[in-house]
């Protein structure tokens, strides 16, 4: 009994101490748990706050960009202030010690760190990059009284450079954040922000280069001389139209003056022809080096510009630093901004009618002598109006942006370092040396020696086909050519040489360029196999089909192509700009890896 009593007592005391220990452990556990939960709750609360601020900031950024584009400076300033506030709040919400501790926690830590980085990036942009971009005075980029204020332009250039630096630094910092194991939502936000930043960086870098390039181009470091050529889309050429006439522009210290003007026909014929690239010669024989009207049979604008420059130099002795090409459609956009221009004794030019007036009416109603007079008077009138009327710089820049986008304004500089800067932009008028997205070119050349291009309507459908075992993809291209030409009543100046045999039947040579490293598989015209000439242009295979269209008729050209090795399911079309814009459709496909 005594034994059992002792053991029972011992057992009871040991039970009591076990109970105390359990209680202590439970208490400690409770304290740790509640601490963790408090910290977790705090971080969750701050995270929720940061998320709300960042979402607000994203909305404000969208608003800001639309206000900047719309030119509403006052509201843009207010939006920017609000954006800075939201971004600052998001940054401070993710900047306290609790957040810092939580960033080192397992599992959720990297997500929290990524959110912090996003908040910091947005705040940096809002405080350091956007204000500089907003301060840029667009009016300083537009010439006044025939001259551009280079001092103000240099100031703008400084602002743009600073903003570009901030954007680039932010982008690089954001690129170091690992994305491997992030929550879906955080990862989406991060990749989205990276893409936006890359876009922005591309934009600021281009703006920076442009702002730096403009002063020397306008003669800040010595006088410059350019050829301004007009492309005539009534007689199609690959870059847009035949180089009809040219004017010499003299630029000095930001001031631009117009010099001598003449028609391409005044340059005559070159025999022996100028040297032409062998690949071009195989497609077009010596024509580009022989006739000023043929320098742009191949779609590479720098080649055409260099040939034309040399032709002008040989005939007139004038050596220029570059060539600027424009077409009447770009002019119509410009007239839409500066308003109608009155020409004494002749129809007034206005944005809605200028293309018809110049490309159709003048051929119908005027003889060659009167045409030349009319064009000369019109040129002088537009020049005067452009520099005397006050124009909204924003609208002006918008129409120039549109013209460049549609490849209706092209520029080539004879200075290699400047040409390098321009090389990637649409302004340069080139096909990429190496496609990032498979690019198919469709270029048009008039083969009838007539001005029937005004009446032609073109469409292009490009369909991305199956993946092939060697990493290529098949592309199917359908080009239709429709003629709205009348059946009678056109003057001889319109029907021209009528090489198609019938003055009203337009003969168009349609060149199709394969993607780089790709190939042309074959072509059919109206469903029938058709003899098509072929050649090479750098890394692209080219095929040329002769398409003759009667008034009111439509011809369909089908060409199948192969891309180079690519997994991409996307494709792009590059086209000759025409009087009436092309109807285009690109049907993409899923990329091959999936």
């Amino acid at each position: 009994m005594a034994d059992s009593g002792v053991s029972r007592r011992r057992r009871r005391s040991s039970r009591r101490s076990t109970r105390a220990r359990v209680r202590r452990i439970l208490l400690a556990g409770l304290v740790v748990c509640s601490l963790l939960m408090t910290l977790g709750g705090w971080v969750a609360f701050r995270g929720w706050q940061a998320r709300a601020h960042l979402l607000n900031a994203a909305g404000l950024a969208r608003e800001l960009s639309s206000q900047v584009v719309g030119g509403d400076v006052d509201r843009a300033q207010r939006t920017l202030a609000a954006l800075q506030e939201q971004a600052g709040a998001a940054r401070s919400a993710t900047g306290d010690p609790g957040w810092w501790v939580a960033q080192h926690a397992p599992y959720a830590g990297d997500d929290l760190a990524a959110v912090r980085q996003i908040a910091v990036a947005v705040d940096d942009l809002a405080r350091r990059a956007f204000p500089a971009l907003l301060r840029i005075d667009l009016a300083s980029l537009v010439p006044k009284k025939g001259s551009l204020d280079l001092t103000r332009l240099r100031a703008v250039s400084g602002e743009v450079s600073a903003a570009d630096r901030v954007v680039r630094e932010t982008g690089e910092r954001l690129r170091t954040v690992p994305t491997g194991h992030l929550l879906g939502q955080v990862q989406d936000a991060l990749t989205g922000l990276r893409t936006e930043l890359d876009n922005l960086a591309g934009l600021t870098a281009a703006a920076d280069q442009g702002a730096r390039l403009l002063p020397p181009l306008l003669g800040a470091d010595g006088p410059r001389r350019y050829l301004l050529v007009s492309q005539n889309p009534a007689e199609l050429r690959s870059t847009g139209g035949m180089f009809g006439a040219y004017a010499v522009l003299n630029a000095e210290k930001g001031r631009i003056r117009m010099g001598q003007q003449d028609a391409s026909s005044g340059l005559g014929l070159f025999d022996p022809p100028l040297r032409v690239d062998p690949q071009v010669r195989e497609l077009w024989s010596d024509l580009p080096g022989r006739y000023p009207a043929d320098v742009n049979l191949s779609p590479d604008f720098p080649t055409a510009a260099a040939l034309y420059r040399e032709m002008v130099r040989r005939r007139t002795g004038t050596t220029v630093d570059g060539v600027l090409a424009v077409d009447p459609v770009a002019l119509s956009y410009l007239l839409g901004v500066i308003g109608p221009v009155a020409v004494p004794g002749r129809p007034t030019l206005s944005g809605g009618t200028v293309v018809r007036t110049l490309l159709s009416d003048s051929y119908r109603t005027l003889d060659k002598q009167a045409q030349d007079e009319y064009f000369g008077q019109a040129a002088a009138a537009v020049f005067t109006d452009f520099f005397t009327k006050s124009v909204d710089p924003r609208e002006l820049l918008t129409v120039f942006s549109r013209s460049v986008d549609e490849r209706r304004i092209l520029f080539w500089s004879d200075h290699p370092e400047e040409q390098r800067v321009l090389a990637d932009s649409r302004l340069a008028g080139t096909l990429p040396e190496k496609d990032t997205v498979p690019t198919v070119g469709v270029f048009l050349n008039d083969g009838s020696g007539a001005k029937l291009g005004y009446y032609l309507r073109f469409s292009a459908n490009l369909t991305v086909g199956d993946c092939q075992s060697d990493g290529r993809r098949e592309l199917r291209l359908r080009v239709t050519v429709h003629s709205t030409a009348p059946r009678s009543g056109l003057k001889a100046s319109v029907t021209g040489l009528a090489l198609s045999g019938d003055p009203y039947t337009a003969r168009t040579l349609v060149s199709v360029y394969s993607p780089t490293g790709g190939a042309v598989l074959g072509g059919r015209l109206d469903g029938r196999d058709s003899a098509m000439s072929s050649g090479l242009d750098r890394r692209r295979q080219v095929t040329v089909a002769t398409v003759e269209v009667k008034p009111g008729g439509t011809r369909t050209l089908d060409v199948s192509l192969l891309t180079g090795q690519t997994g991409a399911g996307a494709a792009e079309l590059v086209l000759t700009p025409t009087v009436t814009p092309w109807t285009t459709r690109v049907a993409t496909a899923p990329s091959c890896e999936q």
Partner: protein, 236 residues
């Protein structure tokens, strides 16, 4: 995007862009060579197959059907517009196919393996065809100045055929692309290889581990409670 285009547009000296457009928008074509003396087509004076400025009026033409084939198939060359019954020399130049696998000096065999090749001719003939395709040969045009000739390439690449009429001096050229034969292996989309399991799994995994942890904690707590309750009730 817009800003970049704007700046680029400005770079061109936008202000004056408009002016000669008006002036030259519709200049008549340059005086065609009607006034130019027609070049005579004699052997001593070869060339000008073109006498007017619009393109597409070459007297002689050469086309290839189909413009792209795989190795082992045959091109058909059609010539026309040459002098009747004349001998036409055809020169073939081959350049590497950019983007395709074979590096310079190599070509792929039918089974996909790569063989080294000399630049012009190669010592080791291919299995299927003992003779390399000629780089220069002659054909005779018929009474209308036309000819049709097959050509079977023996290596991958871009082929440029230049035809020159020996008496007329007329020239024409065409190109064709020869691709390596389709490999027999399945396409990459259906190819073997393990499915890629990446970050898409990691988030559910984390949640699962977290939930399991919470569950374990709850089990421990409930055990502790029950044991304590057991102690209190057991002996009575």
């Amino acid at each position: 995007m817009r800003l970049s285009r704007i700046i680029m547009a400005l770079t061109a000296g936008l202000a004056v862009a408009a002016v000669p457009t008006v002036a030259g928008a519709a200049q008549p074509q340059p005086s065609p060579s009607a006034s130019q003396p027609q070049p005579s087509l004699s052997p001593s004076q070869p060339q000008p197959s073109v006498t007017v400025y619009p393109p597409g009026r070459g007297l002689a033409s050469l086309t290839v059907t189909l413009p792209t084939i795989t190795l082992g198939h045959t091109f058909t060359l059609h010539g026309s517009g040459f002098a009747p019954d004349e001998t036409v020399e055809i020169d073939v130049s081959i350049s590497a196919l950019p983007g395709a696998a074979p590096a310079a000096g190599t070509a792929r065999r039918g089974d996909g393996s790569t063989v080294a090749m000399a630049a012009v001719a190669y010592a080791r003939p291919l299995d299927a065809q003992p003779e390399p395709a000629p780089l220069q040969f002659e054909v005779t045009a018929d009474a209308t100045g036309a000819f049709t000739v097959p050509y079977r390439p023996t290596e991958v690449g871009r082929y440029t055929f230049s035809a020159t009429g020996e008496s007329s001096g007329l020239t024409a050229s065409a190109t064709g692309t020869v691709l390596s034969p389709r490999a027999a292996s399945p396409s990459p989309s259906s190819g073997g290889g393990l499915p890629v399991t990446g970050s898409s799994l990691s988030t559910p995994l984390k949640i699962g581990v977290g939930l399991a942890g919470v569950g374990a904690l709850l089990v421990l707590l409930s055990l502790a409670w029950r044991r304590r309750g057991g102690f209190g009730m057991g002996p009575r």
